[in-house]
Amino acid sequence: MNEQNQPSAEVVPTGTSDADAVRLDQGHIHGEGGYPEAFENPGLPPHTPRLTDIDEAAAKRAERQIAGLFTLSIIGSILFLVGYFTFGVDARNWFPGVGVMSTTHLLLGAGLALGLLGIGLGVLHWSRTLMPGEEIVESRHHLASSDEQRAELADTFVKGVEGSQINRRPLIKYSLGGALGLVSLPILVQLVGSLGPLPKDDLYVSAWSGLPDENGKRTFSAPRLVLDPENRPIKASDVTIGSVFHVQPEGLLDLHDHVLEEKGKSSVIVMRLDPGDFADNDLGRKARDWGHDGIVAYSKICTHVGCPVGLYEQTTHHLLCPCHQSTFDVTQDCKVIFGPAKRPLPQLKITVDDEGYLIAAQPFMEPVGPSFWERD
């Protein structure tokens, strides 16, 4: 046991500096040789008055400074009002050090800032120079109540429970438990049940499977690939090697409602590679076969968390997602070669129609976008 662990506030120093020194190689020796275990709190150091406490001229100066800051605040507020009523919302002017910017934004901002800072700094200066500068001591009491009071509280609870007889009457206890458990359900069911529809097959289909009719049914009709946002079909011959197009299925951009919802699943990126650039493996061959003459189409929705994969490096044939930097290799069927995504971007099988326009040969064969639990 270590008596030297004890707090020592009550130990009064009995030794003087003339007492024999303690050899520390004898180990910790506290309370012997006349020394307390720890130093005593010397108490508050003597108060040093501020200049403004002893020199009336300094106090007067502080008073003027404070009043000056408050006056600045008044000027700021007036500046704000003048700015508000003098200039139109679209007025723009050149301001030194700032350049051309909205006149009202600058005048209102500067005026309000001055109005607030004048008061703020003035009051702070006041509190530091003229208000009483001596710290005072308030005593702190143990937070806990007395043992009796705590016991009384516990008794109150015990008596309350006894008075309700809930423990003596199990019929009430268990039926109430059941009722309370059940009554939360209606509220929860209303909320959760009415928030939104069930996903059903919505994650598996896109506008490439056809746009929904009145009954929400989609029928595949080999849609043309159209440019987004120009809404123009693309001739295979217009897609030169190295080019990259952002496309949607024909008809989507003519919709009035749910355009964003359909785009969120149907956005596709089209690139043309030299057919020889595809990797000489199963992945590369599949990518090329699902394309047309080196033109390939892939879902633009990242398989990580769904950002549009918007950056294409022509020389390496890599697609990069700007959100979390997943990198997909187009020559290997958009396999992930870097970053946090796991699955390749789904490929859209394409071909050309009689007039030479690119069309979808089949819808996406798997859900596009981020992974989810019930996805295969």
Binding site: A21, H30, S102, H105, G120, S127, E135, S267, C307, C323
Partner: protein, 572 residues
């Protein structure tokens, strides 16, 4: 009001009828007290003492910026329309005229361009929100590193933890509302990581978004969360937080005259109240200056949200950075293919597990530390961070991990600005997240211990005076001047600590360590981890020995080493 005259004089009788001149304030206090009986309570509050220190101001910045965000937020609700209905923009911002967009985005543009002072309010709102979360975090660091979370303030620490979680959710909901390209991309990522929740993920997002992403329900829903649900919780919890501060009375830094049983500082009236008022206006003023001259969230730059469009360098507001950074670091192979199910740990761990985990660890820390130290006493005097080397090291390591995740959010911008490969940067961070925190822990702990040793040195040998003395033999030595008792108290006023030993029935100090309960092996091990390198304060005996016997310096320092050595020495 002299009533102490011992011998009544005839003239006193005349004065008896004299009443002090009635003051207006008497009438006011009487009116209030008649209806509330609150006179003593209000008087107590007005005379309450608050200690003064610059670091106590950080929490006030958080409180004030929250209030400013609330105030400006109310203004914004008068013009903002949280609707996904289509509209064609015809406001005064020329580049977007004729563009199809949602009412939400169009009204946010109107606030920025067509409502006088609207941009100032919008900028103030965003800057105040950012400052709120920054200052809230820095306030939390102050509380952590000074040990202010110890008993009896654990509950308030938990309240603060909940506040900080709510604050970032509130921030996310807020910057998702304008429906510009960036905010839509943020929502898209949110939908993308929520859908990875095992089993219920797809149901969850269809409920949240009311169907296919993005749908038209999300904006009004986010809006009611952002302006009603979370602000009410934030305000209520913030009030509870401040009330608890008053109930506990504020902690104070150790120093001469300051004890566990007192509060040294300034009373509410007039000083503390004046300082708070002045400070509120100053914070408001500085935020206004920033909002005037520095644009945050220029929603007009990238146009309306389009699932097919994106910008390079997309990143969330800074406080969501650590979660986004984790998403960038987690490797793709963590997505597991479980037959007909998919478990996307690569997304889940960063987005759905990390956030709650951070806040659970944060909220639990005071209880963990109390268990390790076995300390059940109240603490109102703060620790200097150096006097709790292990806690300071742990905090620094946690901050390092957080910082790495946050910086990872900018890996693409770093790659561009520094002309480095983004792959190299990301891989470096993947290594650093494991290597750097332990290193920082070790380094910070050692630095703390060195500072403690320097403190001991200063107490034992006094401060260097820069005055040289030449001895009779011709040797030079520097004069050291002993510290006065006030300065010395600064360095010695902390409690010595020792590791609990296995099987021990706790320490003798009342309230410390399971009195009568045997210390378990695990607890003893943790206690050793915390305290085996403790450097304890100089005792009067040590100081005296240092004065008398300059050859024992080494011995003095050795005596501050672990308790085992001390006990070994005692046995001999």
């Amino acid at each position: 009001m002299s009533t102490t005259a011992s011998t009544p004089r005839p003239a006193d009788r005349l004065r008896e009828a004299d009443q002090p001149a009635p003051r207006q304030v008497d009438g006011l206090t009487a009116w209030i007290d008649d209806r509330t009986g609150a006179a003593p309570g209000i008087k107590y509050l007005m005379k309450k003492v608050f200690p003064d220190h610059w670091s106590f101001m950080i929490g006030e910045v958080a409180l004030f910026s929250m209030l400013i965000a609330l105030l400006t937020g109310v203004f914004l609700t008068f013009w903002f329309d949280p609707s996904m209905a289509h509209t064609v923009y015809n406001g005064s911002y020329v580049p977007l005229q004729g563009v199809e967009m949602s009412r939400a985005y169009a009204s946010a543009l109107d606030i920025s361009f067509d409502i006088k002072g609207g941009l100032l309010i919008r900028q103030l709102h965003h800057w105040a929100a950012l400052l709120f979360i920054v200052s809230l975090n820095v306030h939390m660091f102050r509380v952590f590193f000074t040990g202010a979370f110890r008993k009896p303030r654990e509950l308030n620490w938990v309240l603060g933890t909940v506040l900080s979680l709510l604050a970032i959710v509130e921030g996310f909901a807020g910057y998702s509302l304008p429906d510009d390209l960036l905010s839509g991309t943020g929502l898209r990522a949110m939908q993308g990581f929520t859908i990875t929740t095992p089993v219920i993920g797809s149901y969850l997002v269809y409920f949240i978004f009311g169907g296919t992403f993005p749908g038209t329900d999300i904006m009004p829903r986010l809006y009611s969360v952002h302006i009603l649900l979370i602000p009410a919780l934030l305000l209520g919890l913030a009030i509870a937080h401040v009330v608890l501060v008053m109930v506990h009375k504020h902690t104070q830094y150790p120093g001469p005259g300051k004890t566990e049983k007192n509060v040294v500082g300034y009373p509410v009236l007039p000083i503390y109240a004046a300082k708070q008022t002045g400070f509120f206006f100053t914070v408001f003023g500085i935020l206004t200056l920033i909002s005037t001259f520095f644009t945050i969230n220029a929603i007009w730059v990238h146009g309306p949200y389009d699932p097919n469009a994106t910008t390079a360098g997309a990143q969330p507001d800074w406080y969501m950075g650590f979660a986004d950074g984790a998403l960038r670091l987690l490797p793709g192979w963590l997505e597991l293919d479980l037959g007909s199910f998919t478990l996307s740990l690569n997304v889940m761990l960063g987005a759905l597990v990390l956030l709650p985990l951070v806040f659970i660890i944060q909220g639990a820390y005071p209880f963990l530390e109390a268990w390790v130290t076995g300390d059940k006493r109240e603490h109102h005097l703060l620790d200097r961070p150096r006097n709790a080397p292990v806690r300071t090291g742990l905090g620094a390591a946690a901050l390092t991990a957080y910082g790495i995740l946050m910086f990872t959010t900018s890996n693409d911008i770093m790659a561009i600005k520094l002309h480095l490969s983004i792959n190299d940067i990301t891989r470096t961070y993947q290594v650093l997240i494991f290597v750097l925190p332990p290193l920082v822990f070790w380094a910070v702990k050692r630095i703390c211990i060195s500072l403690q040793r320097a403190d001991r040195e200063k107490v034992l040998h006094g401060r260097e005076t820069s005055r040289l003395m030449q001895s009779a033999e011709g040797g030079f030595s520097e004069l050291h001047e002993p510290l006065n008792e006030y300065d010395r108290w600064h360095y010695v006023s902390y409690e010595p600590t020792y590791p609990l030993l296995e099987g021990e029935t706790g320490s003798d100090t009342p309230g410390v360590a399971g009195s009568g309960r045997k210390v378990s092996k695990a607890r003893a091990a943790f206690s050793r981890f915390y305290f085996q390198d403790s450097i304890n304060p100089v005792t009067p005996a040590e100081l005296e020995a240092a004065h008398h016997d300059h050859e024992t310096h080494e011995v003095i320092e050795a005596s501050a080493e672990p308790r085992e050595q001390i006990e070994a020495a005692e046995k001999h």
